[in-house]
């Protein structure tokens, strides 16, 4: 919605405009009193004791918003949650990050946050699976687990006193991600849901929606056994040779990976939330209309997706009533 840079013909422009108007009218009905802009007064009962949270300030005895966003109330706390801010991590979030540094007993990961997150060696499962104390030898062999520039999936464990994040990757489903592509989108488009790991059986593809806006689409790998064999490959040489000799991803799977990737790109450029249902509907729309994978990034498909989403939301609101 923010200035789509697409060459649209006149009819496409009209259709897109109409679809956006329908969506805006729907959302306006939902919560018109909760959204505020800067310097709006927040409706609050001044008799009750309440706590002023983030994004609010006391101006001439009135509670006024300092950011544009939605008013949230939690017990006595009143705060304004801005819509398009930097990624704000919460404990238990699934994030995807890239290793930038291998330091003493820890890896530093870049996760699209204001600081790099830390993954301690003790928060990782060891390759042989045994729970034991980490020795000096383990510390020296950290590079055999994760190296610089590797993509890692982990969970937010807690915040440290200086505001930086600590991650953990204790479960089988976390760990290094290979054989796929990473997409970077705005973090506010990925909402917290029950499941962030999706295994699309019909394609054999694993989709990880990191809450920090990093999305991984790749071949689905079962239960992280790749760590067990890594003891054998002790040198950099053997990994490189192994990489060249490994077969490339089969064409069928690659087409599905690219299709899902393009569906996510279209949804982000239109500003829609990225969740599994919407992605699958977009992919099905493109395959049912026999649209070529690259043409999914063209103007016609953007307009079709906007119209489809408008129809879908009208249906869901009708069903709710």
């Amino acid at each position: 919605m923010r200035g789509l840079k697409l060459p649209l013909s006149q009819t496409q422009r009209v259709r897109l405009q109409r679809a956006f108007e329908k969506l805006q009218s729907l959302s306006a009905m939902a919560n018109s009193d909760a959204s505020v802009t800067v310097a709006d007064t927040i409706p609050v009962n001044y008799e009750d004791a309440f706590l002023k949270g983030h994004g609010t300030t006391d101006l001439n005895g009135e509670l006024v918003a300092t950011v544009c966003g939605v008013v949230e109330r939690v017990n006595k706390l009143v705060y304004v949650r801005s819509l398009r801010a930097r990624y704000k991590p919460e404990v238990g979030d699934v994030v995807v990050g890239r290793v930038v540094e291998v330091a003493q007993k820890r890896w530093r990961l870049e996760i699209n946050f204001s600081q790099d997150a830390v993954l301690m060696l003790s928060s990782m499962n060891m390759p042989d699976g045994i729970q034991r104390r980490r020795t000096a030898l383990d510390e020296l062999n950290m590079r055999s687990i994760f190296e610089e520039n590797d993509i890692v999936c982990a969970e937010v464990r807690n915040f440290q006193h200086d505001g930086s994040l600590q991650l953990q990757a204790r479960s089988r489903k976390y760990g290094k991600l290979e054989k796929g592509q990473l997409l970077i989108i705005d973090p506010y488009l990925v909402k917290k849901s029950k499941q962030h790991f999706h295994h699309l059986e019909q394609f054999g593809i694993g989709l990880i929606l990191g809450r920090n806006g990093y999305i991984w689409i790749g071949e689905h790998v079962e239960a992280r056994d790749s760590m067990v064999i890594d003891q054998a490959k002790s040198t950099e040489q053997s990994t490189v040779v192994e990489g060249i000799n490994q077969a490339y991803t089969p064409l069928e799977m690659r087409q599905n990976i690219c299709r899902i990737g393009n569906a996510i790109r279209v949804l982000t450029s239109l500003g829609f939330n990225v969740d599994l249902n919407l992605i699958m509907e977009t992919v099905e729309l493109s395959s049912s209309l026999k649209i070529d994978i690259h043409d999914m990034l063209g103007s016609e498909f953007h307009v079709l997706v906007a119209e489809m989403e408008a129809e879908r939301r009208i249906l869901t609101t009708k069903r709710k009533r």
Binding site: K5, L6, D150, G180, Q246, R254, C258, R259, H294
Partner: protein, 287 residues
Amino acid sequence: MVGLSVGEKHFIQGGIAQDLRSDGRKRLTYRPIYVETGVIPQAHGSARVRLGATDVIASVKAELGKPSALQPDKGKIAIYVDCSPTAAPMFEGRGGEELSTELSVALQRCLLGGKSGAGAGIDPTSLVVVEGKVCWDLYIDGLVISSDGNLLDALAAAIKAALSNTGIPKVDVAAETRSDEQPEVNISDEEFLQFDTSGIPVIVTLTKVGRHYIVDATSEEESQMSSAVSISVNRKGHICGLTKRGGVGLDPSIILDMISVAKHVSEQLINKLDSEIAAAEASEEES
């Protein structure tokens, strides 16, 4: 430039080998090109070209000057490219100088022809006002705002669009001046001469990854390249310039193959670019 893990590099190379790149393109497909003209009102001509996430602006300014003594019947054209720090943090201060000089030299070679001015894409004889005394100096500046690979192609397209958008003011020369005096010139504010840009070539960059070449590489794909050849082709299919980057040596037969591929790709690119420029000029006139 963000690094890539071994798995991602393997995935990109596999995609190129199988003719299906990360965003679904074939090896010889360009990203959608988006052209806007007239973005800088104070310049005589300007254009902004977006090629995926690559974003460049080109502007053309014309000033009256004296032609050089060696070529009294030709105007002067200077091309200069600047990489803005908004594209990458390493371009701050003097960090972007190396890349800027490389791009400027490549564009000069492709568009301006030889030292004598022969074989130029832009005809300098059309810039002369009074032979030997007064001519137009054209300053073409390119600015890289955002870099996602394939800067040379985007800059060449932006320069072509900017030149189509350029209006050189009409000049009235006072008649009857003595031969050793500077003639008086009257620059009109109303009438403008449009440039003829049909002869301007486009640049097609072919990036070799593994055993295949791709057109319009993103910065991730460029990090995997062994070498890249940029070929400038004009509408008639003639080669106007050739630049090779990358330290890996290429067999001559590969270069000849790349040239024929570039010729083939350039036909579609020239047509697409012309239609986009025409659409941009039309929408600029509306607004």
